[in-house]
């Protein structure tokens, strides 16, 4: 009897798998990316003894670091640099060990060293002051334009534009669910898992929200912070908490698979970050925006190889190919998403649409006419630069790293403790 039961169950399971696969072939599948990474042009000679070192906070298990590592592979393929010329150090903590690893890369003969995590900055500056012949580049940092070291540079991308585009896909999904009668327009609420109440995160979720609001005007958003850039369990818990608070769609700015995984388990649509999570979450993944670091890598390698100066504060945008989107999951995204996103890309390119247009958001019920942002980092974090003019907030224009940290209406921060 038991055997029979087991057999029946096994057959049922097989049948259901086959069923999934069958229905999947009809509707699922990723579209072409509306904003794909461009092909890199290598129009310069690299000396045979050239070496570059990359320092990463975690390894390929973190979506954040994987995005950097993929760019390393891309630039290596384009430039033909060998594995002996490209040294990658993973799992480098934001401690003195970061300085030690940078110094070790100098010992190995690196001409150029790149570090990828915000907390690496002070330790990389320490190394830059000591090793003046080596160029140091740091992603997400804020201090290069004030430190004024000839061999220390920051870089970022106007990823808020990518977030805005991903937000449009999210808003259209909400509209589709409203039309299908799953909930009413005023119940359209997005949940967002953030790491810290830091400008990079605030800028990210706000631009995402404004993208969604541009197509779904009634949308609101709850944000839950984890207090860590990478904590799979916390991110999963936060996503589940948001789902329990009746959020209809989830997105995140944190680096593990925690939130996308929670969404897949509960069948809640997810807009991802740092790259596609389609393979792990085919039933809920809509689209992901990401910073493509390959153009920047290509640029700094060119500068060092040809002896030209690196911009001390570089911000790549859509035109540079630094802001990219993955393909859109046709099985989950609303109809017409690809076209709507493509149109928005053109509008951003021409400048017809500004993400932080002050007409599109209010703070405390009022329009924002002036805002001093903390652009030049100092010990007391004093606001120093007027960021609002010409009717929009000038994000990433006075410094590559984001400084938009306004709490706009429509977004509720559930736990501001982080």
């Amino acid at each position: 009897m038991k055997k029979l039961l087991a057999l029946v169950l096994a057959v049922l399971m097989l049948a259901s798998f086959a069923g999934c696969a069958g229905s999947g072939e009809e509707t699922l599948g990723m579209s072409e990316s509306p904003l794909a990474a461009p092909t890199l042009t290598v129009d310069y000679e690299i000396p045979a003894d050239f070496k570059v070192g990359f320092i990463c906070l975690h390894d390929e298990k973190s979506t954040y670091d994987l995005n950097f590592l993929n760019a390393v592979d891309a630039v290596q393929e384009a430039t033909g640099l060998t594995d002996e010329q490209v040294l990658v150090k993973t799992n480098v903590p934001e401690t003195d060990a970061c300085y030690q690893e940078a110094a070790d890369l100098v010992d190995q003969g690196c001409d150029l060293i790149f570090a990828n995590s915000f907390g690496h900055e002070d330790f990389i500056i320490k190394a830059a002051k000591e090793f003046k012949d080596v160029q140091f580049c740091h992603a997400t940092g804020t201090k290069a334009h004030t430190e004024k070291l000839p061999n220390y540079n920051n870089a970022f991308a106007s990823i808020f534009q990518g977030r805005y585009l991903a937000g449009i896909a999210a808003g259209m999904k909400l509209n589709e669910m409203i039309e299908a009668g799953k909930f009413t327009a005023d119940q359209a609420k997005i949940g967002y898992v953030g790491a810290y109440t830091y400008a990079e995160v605030i800028s990210g979720y706000t631009s995402f929200y404004l993208g969604a609001k541009s197509v779904c005007p009634t949308v609101t958003m709850d944000v839950q912070f984890t207090g860590s850039w990478y904590d799979a369990v916390e991110e999963q818990n936060a996503a589940n908490a948001l789902i329990d608070r009746d959020c209809k769609l989830i997105s995140q700015h944190a680096d593990s698979m925690g939130a996308p995984g929670a969404c897949e388990a509960k069948g809640i649509p997810n807009v991802s970050y740092n790259g596609s999570t389609y393979d792990a979450c085919p039933e809920t993944f809509i689209v992901s925006s990401a910073i493509n670091w390959a153009p920047y890598y290509n640029y700094i390698i060119k500068c060092v190889a040809t002896g030209t100066e690196i911009s001390d504060d570089w911000c790549g945008g859509i035109a540079e190919g630094s802001v990219v989107l993955t393909g859109i999951n046709q099985g989950v995204a609303a109809e017409g998403t690809v076209d709507a996103v493509k149109k928005a890309i053109e509008d951003l390119k021409t400048g017809a649409v500004k993400v932080f247009d002050t007409k599109n958001f209010t703070v405390g019920g009022k329009a924002v006419e002036t805002y001093k942002a903390d652009v030049d980092t100092d010990a007391k974090f004093t606001p120093d630069t007027e960021a609002v003019s010409e009717g929009y907030f000038h994000e990433s224009e006075y410094r590559s790293a984001p400084y938009f940290d306004l709490r706009i209406d429509g977004i509720t921060l559930i736990n501001e403790k982080y």
Partner: protein, 364 residues
């Protein structure tokens, strides 16, 4: 009688305690274990990543000893791990399962960083260093004293208690960073101007000297002092200790105060002597690795220098393997795991032997 014996079921294999083995015998066994571990991990390397195992081993050595900077880094990492291992040892010897070293170190580091932040510009450096030291030791003691007091008074479970104290410490550090890092990034700028001075040009020498001195001190304390003897007796049998008039509660609390103070010093060295800042990763899991170091060395501080070396050497090597061959660090960790397994296994076989059931023929 004979029939009864025949009916008795002897297991196919059973394990018997060995008599004391000769010193040369034990060295040979350990050497064979290491060779076997290298050979076995060689096979795993070839199967998993298709690289030449000899090149991988040379990469491990290169990562640990390749340059003078790497050797200093190795010594510094050893000093930090050894300091925490020394801290857990008295408690473990007493069979008090203190797995709260991680939290005790962090809280010591937090006390240090708070002193640096608020008194740095108010006190002359020598006085500042004294206050940093006192604060870190005191914080470590408080964090160890609480579970010890509960254990001594109400016999609470110290494993769970110390474990929970870790989380409290981690959250306190996170809270501190939230409140005092105003940009919300959670990354505190290193306050290098208030860090311990470098000796010559080397910021690690002072740490290494301090830990070397502590190693000798703990060795002498455990081996030759009356208090060290009391710890051994309480560890062997609490009832014996009571019988011969040892105040068990007092010994538990006193020993944990020493444990906590040493953890506090580790936090001091990590923050004041090395990083000059703090985050939740500052202890970096060393509080747990230290338990392995201490066990492997059978709670002998001098052997712990060797076991610390082994673990740090493998760790540095593993990271180099990952860079040289562009493989995930997990593969290097597999190699480390295999080597440790063989070493722990050989310690087992030095103490015990496996006896197979004799065949009936031999019985007759």
């Amino acid at each position: 009688m004979a029939t009864v014996q025949k009916k008795q079921k002897t297991p196919l294999i059973h394990i018997v305690k060995r008599p004391q083995v000769a010193w040369y015998h034990s060295i040979i066994v350990r050497a064979v274990a290491i060779v076997a571990a290298l050979a076995f991990s060689g096979i795993v390397i070839t199967l998993l990543i298709g690289e030449n195992p000899l090149e991988v081993y040379s990469s491990i050595f290169d990562g640990a000893f390749g340059t003078s900077r790497r050797i200093w880094n190795l010594l510094q990492s050893m000093a930090m791990l050894l300091c925490i291992s020394l801290a857990v040892t008295p408690a473990f010897k007493m069979r008090f399962w203190n797995i709260g070293a991680e939290g005790q170190v962090l809280i010591g580091g937090l006390a240090t960083v708070i002193v640096m932040m608020f008194l740095g510009d108010k006190l002359p450096l020598p006085l500042l260093f004294l206050v940093m030291t006192a604060a870190s030791i005191l914080a470590g003691i408080v964090w160890a004293f609480i579970p010890a007091f509960f254990k001594a008074m109400w016999n609470t479970n110290e494993t769970l208690f110390t474990l929970m104290m870790n989380y409290v410490a981690i959250q306190l550090v996170a809270y501190f960073l939230k409140v005092f890092v105003k940009d919300g990034s959670g990354a505190l700028r290193p306050m290098s101007e208030y860090g311990f001075p470098a000796i010559g040009d080397n910021q690690f020498i002072l740490n290494i000297i301090i830990v070397a001195a502590l190693t000798i001190a703990v060795y002498i304390y455990l081996k030759f002092s009356k208090q060290g003897y009391e710890i051994s007796v309480v560890g062997e049998s609490e009832n014996t200790a009571k019988y011969i008039g040892i105040n068990v509660k007092k010994v538990i609390i006193r020993t944990l105060i020493i444990s906590g103070a040493l953890c506090g010093i580790a936090g001091l060295l990590l923050v004041g002597g090395t990083n000059h800042t703090i985050n939740v990763e500052t202890a970096g899991g060393r509080g747990f690795t230290a338990i392995m170091v201490s066990w492997l060395a059978k709670f002998n501080p001098l052997y712990m220098v060797l076991t610390t070396f082994l673990i740090v050497f493998l760790e540095k090597g593993a990271s180099q393997v990952s860079t040289d061959f562009r493989v995930p660090e997990d593969i290097s960790n597999i190699i480390t795991g295999i080597i440790l397994l063989f070493i722990i296994g050989c310690e087992f076989f030095l103490q015990y032997k496996v006896v197979f059931r004799k065949t009936r023929k031999e019985n007759d």
